[in-house]
Amino acid sequence: MMRALSFIIVFALLCSPGDLCAQTKSVVPRGPDGKPDLTGVWQGGSTIRGSWDEANAGLGVGGSGKNPNAPTVLSSNDRPAGREGAPYQEWAAKKVLESFNKRGIDDPTSLCLPAGVPRSVMLGLFPQKIVQTPKEIVILYEYMNAFRTIPLNAKHGDDLLPSYMGDSVGHWEGDTLVVDVIGFNDKTWLAGTGTFHSDQLHITERYTRVDKDQINYEVTMVDPKVFTKPWTLRSTIMLREGTRLEEYICAENNIDPAAYEQLLKAGVKIGR
């Protein structure tokens, strides 16, 4: 009896109308095929619900600083607390460390190259837009004006050109969109400073929209040339209603590589 009463009290506390719990229990929108509809503008990496303005009010990277007490945000070049070390082979780990010790001046994005997968998905400074149809899903990334087309229930071509964003095909496993990505070049970083890979990179992504506001994202990276075992990361992608994608033409005024060169030529120490 007491147990039942406790349950009712807890339920009432957590799920009274208009509170946080009501939001978390919101319904997953579905398309005409009955599958979860992922269409919308999203922010990778975040765990916070609400508009872009509400969710980015802190003092971290990209934050407006309107609420100094809001959670701190990290750069995609940083390793979040609690994340295990990436399972690089010994020689490859040394190469990752070299980039870290150079403070990431060899980051491919400093040359305006696309950020690749999963970096483009998990970063939070720029929004991404998912457009879903029953036959194909398209993801547009503001960062570097990159895009991915993900045909459903299709096979990879057998004549793929190596690419920055890879070749994606998807299928539904229940309510989870599973995306298989191959066909990469070796010119992007995965998740953190120096996290390079080879052209043998094979990625499996799982997108599960758990409610109106949140997609749970899981990515597994396999690369026998650089890893000792698969590397799996998990994060969330949050809906940002009212946000639109802006144009991002990186070549417009990219003077940072020249600045690095200028500092190095002047003998200024920039490494750790």
Binding site: I48, G62, N77, G85, L97, A191
Partner: protein, 144 residues
Amino acid sequence: MAKNIFWTCAVACTLILSAIPVAAHHSFGAEYDANQPITVSGIITKIEWTNPHSFIFMDVTDKNGKVANWKFEGYGPGVLYRNGWKKDLTIKPGDHITIFGWRARDGTNWAHSREITLADGKKMMFGPPAGTGDGGNTPAVEVR
């Protein structure tokens, strides 16, 4: 009481779980020295509202009356727009502003801008925290 515990937990859990990885286009930490914070006031001479990064050029007068033109680097226009900046409205050439940031490693008149105090006293973020993009405190791999 139970509700207090719930909200305490909700706030704490949010703080724990909400470290958002964001992208920085390049390593601010390589170009700018986090150990050289600087606050300068002056008159804006030019604004480059460009990708991947925006720049503010500002005439700064020292105590001897000598004027030098400084360059400050910040976020690209999309990020600034989402944070409330409006091109040609929030700041414009001729405005007197104060910029807090960090100097370039070569010690010249060039810096990373962080917080700008507008002519009316309002403060807004024009760039990321010190060191953004340089890999942070921990490499992605275990150091052996």
